[in-house]
């Protein structure tokens, strides 16, 4: 048995993903998902979010446990730093989404990964959220992701993995394209 006979395993069930794509072709309505997080104020700028349920594949779904996340601001903002800032959650979301994509695409393309590490950085000018300069936007002025990937593939193939992952990433799309957001009070 040669090295090339060892099956590539990145721990991604590609057959299940492709099966889901086939199932969607038959019953497109099961592809309609709704994600949900519940956020509760604690004190000051500290709040806690919990994620437990969502809807998809035509039914109510539930994570195997309730995940909770503290959001706050650092002490330099005269806050208590009980958790990461909301904008850092965005970086967490982007990194998790792109890396999941890298693993899935690598599995599909029969590329064995050994290590994948992404550093996600965003630039922001505080003049925006403080209302100090109307020409500065509130959000990021730019986002950079740097991947260090060790895999059985050429650097060209690895760059193609990362590009394809961006192309199919929900969070990347959410960050790069406008989305309608409605906020209501009941």
């Amino acid at each position: 048995m040669t090295a090339t006979d060892v099956p590539v395993d990145n721990g991604v069930n590609v057959e299940a993903l492709l099966g889901a794509r086939d199932a969607l072709a038959e019953t497109p309505e099961i592809g309609q998902f709704r994600w949900r997080a519940v956020n509760t104020w604690v004190k000051g700028t500290h709040s806690r979010s919990s994620v437990e349920t969502f809807h998809g594949f035509g039914a109510a779904q539930r994570h195997k446990t309730t995940y909770t996340y503290d959001g706050d601001h650092p002490e330099a903002f005269a806050a208590e730093d009980n958790g990461v800032t909301p904008v850092e959650f965005v970086l967490v979301a982007l990194g998790s989404c792109l890396t999941a994509g890298v693993a899935a695409v690598a599995q599909q393309r029969q590329i064995q990964l050994r290590s994948v590490r992404a550093t996600v950085e965003a630039d922001m000018d505080l003049h925006g959220i403080l209302g100090a300069d109307p020409e500065v936007r509130n959000g990021f002025s730019g986002v950079r992701v740097n991947y260090e990937i060790d895999a059985d593939a050429s650097s060209e193939e690895i760059r193609a993995l990362v590009a394809q992952s961006q192309k199919r990433s929900a969070v990347y799309d959410i960050l790069t394209n406008p989305t309608n957001v409605t906020v209501e009070v009941v």
Partner: protein, 422 residues
């Protein structure tokens, strides 16, 4: 009611290639054409339009290779294409009925009823050859463009003079988008080009036309039932090419050099402002990587085939982008006077009353064979092979489909009750 074995709908290169193959098998047929032969080439192309493929590649079944004074390495303009298809129709003596628009096709017990404005044909088989590009595909956000801005699709566009003086937004960076962006910008109207997924292509590589490489290396012969993601291959935007006498390349770097401003995919229009996606760096990275892989395929073929005639292996510089491409553009404030939507085309099969469409109105077929026995389709992107998207693909597709159609007729004949002898 006139009865024929086969009705072919459309007398473009696809329908005529089909006619020729049916004639070879002595299958009686008519070719119904809404206008004149090569109608969409006559009526739906901009003034400077030329084929993307060199003239030597416009091979059609049974067409004599001589008889044309055209430069085989040139690219035919619209009058040239119309003349070529006209001459071909005459040469193969195709039974074309011009100015005969089909108003409906529906099944009946002997096959199909094909209704035109004047009469109804009974046909045992029908071939849809009415084209892939009858209607513009325009995104819904076009409806949010502020009033007062001239809005055209690539099907309506003829020349820059149609547009008001001032800045123009061209949406889409496929073949039509880059060509229109280039000539509108050169007319003195500054162009912003909204770029989504695109297919970067140099006009020439190692001393040969890029289509020569695709043809010679077998890339164009990749079959529809052997590629990994067919829906994606069929939806691929057209190549960033122009067929011009000076054989220029019209990739994004070439457009940037003449001053065209690049932006991301047009993602929305809100409060009178266009919003562009921030995905442009990935779009160009994908296109650069894909081009590199394609050239690698060519080089590998050249090495294995012992091809030595060309120039040495070359790789093109990565697509250059501004440090921060624009994310918004003020449409309402007069910054943009006109928008050209080069966002793709779709076929018009509104007259087809046979249940072969999917939930999005697209025709479902297996290499041009629909699930409805006796109903065929030709002239669609990647119908049976990559070459199907080109005029040059009609020959092989028509031969394959005619064989299937003839087998269908034979099977039907054998099912019919045997005549009773006495």
């Amino acid at each position: 009611m006139p009865k024929v074995t086969t009705v072919v709908i459309g007398a473009g290169h696809g329908g005529l290639a089909m006619s020729r193959c049916l004639t070879e098998r002595s299958i009686d047929h008519v070719v119904l054409e809404r206008g004149a032969v090569a109608n969409s080439w006559r009526t739906q192309r901009w003034d400077s339009f030329r084929l993307l493929t060199p003239t030597w590649m416009t091979r059609l079944p049974g067409r004599s290779p001589t008889g044309s004074d055209d430069d085989p390495d040139g690219y035919l303009d619209t009058p040239g294409i119309v003349r070529l298809i006209d001459e071909y129709a005459a040469e193969i003596d195709a039974p074309v009925r011009q100015n005969t628009a089909v108003t409906s096709v529906r099944p009946d017990e002997d096959g199909f009823l094909v209704r035109t404005e004047h009469e109804v044909f009974g046909a045992r088989t029908v071939v849809l050859a009415s084209g892939a590009c009858n209607l513009p595909r325009v995104p819904g956000i076009a409806g949010a463009v502020p009033p007062g801005i001239v809005s055209l699709t690539a099907l309506d566009y003829r020349s820059p003079e149609q547009l008001p003086e001032g800045a123009v937004l061209v949406v889409g960076a496929s073949s039509s988008g880059v060509q229109i962006a280039r000539e509108v910008h050169r007319s003195g109207r500054p162009v912003t080009l909204a770029v989504g997924e695109h297919v970067r292509m140099p006009r020439r590589y190692r001393g040969r036309d890029i289509l020569w490489w695709m043809d010679a290396s077998g890339v164009l012969d990749e079959r529809y039932d052997q590629i990994p993601d067919l829906p994606r291959a069929r939806a691929l935007p057209s190549m960033q090419l122009v067929g011009s006498p000076d054989r220029v390349t019209v990739d994004l770097n070439a457009l940037t050099r003449i001053g065209v401003r690049l932006a991301g995919r047009l993602a929305g229009v809100r409060d009178g402002r266009a919003q562009f996606s921030g995905s442009l760096p990935n779009m160009t990275a994908l296109a650069d990587l894909k081009l590199g892989r394609l050239l690698g395929t060519f080089d590998a073929w050249a090495a294995s085939a012992g091809f030595t005639g060309g120039e040495k292996v070359e790789r093109f510089a990565a697509t250059e982008l501004p440090a921060s491409p624009p994310l918004t553009l003020d449409l309402a404030g007069g910054g943009i006077r006109a928008i050209v939507w080069a966002t793709g085309f779709r076929p018009d099969l509104s007259w087809l009353d046979v249940p072969v469409l999917d939930r999005k109105g697209r025709i479902v077929h297996d290499g041009g064979v629909t699930a409805w026995p006796g109903l065929y389709l030709i002239g669609m992107p990647f119908l049976r092979r990559r070459r199907s998207s080109l005029i040059d693909g009609a020959a092989a597709d028509a031969r394959d489909l005619t064989r299937h159609l003839a087998n269908h007729l034979d099977a039907r004949r054998n099912q019919d009750p045997e005549p009773i002898g006495d």
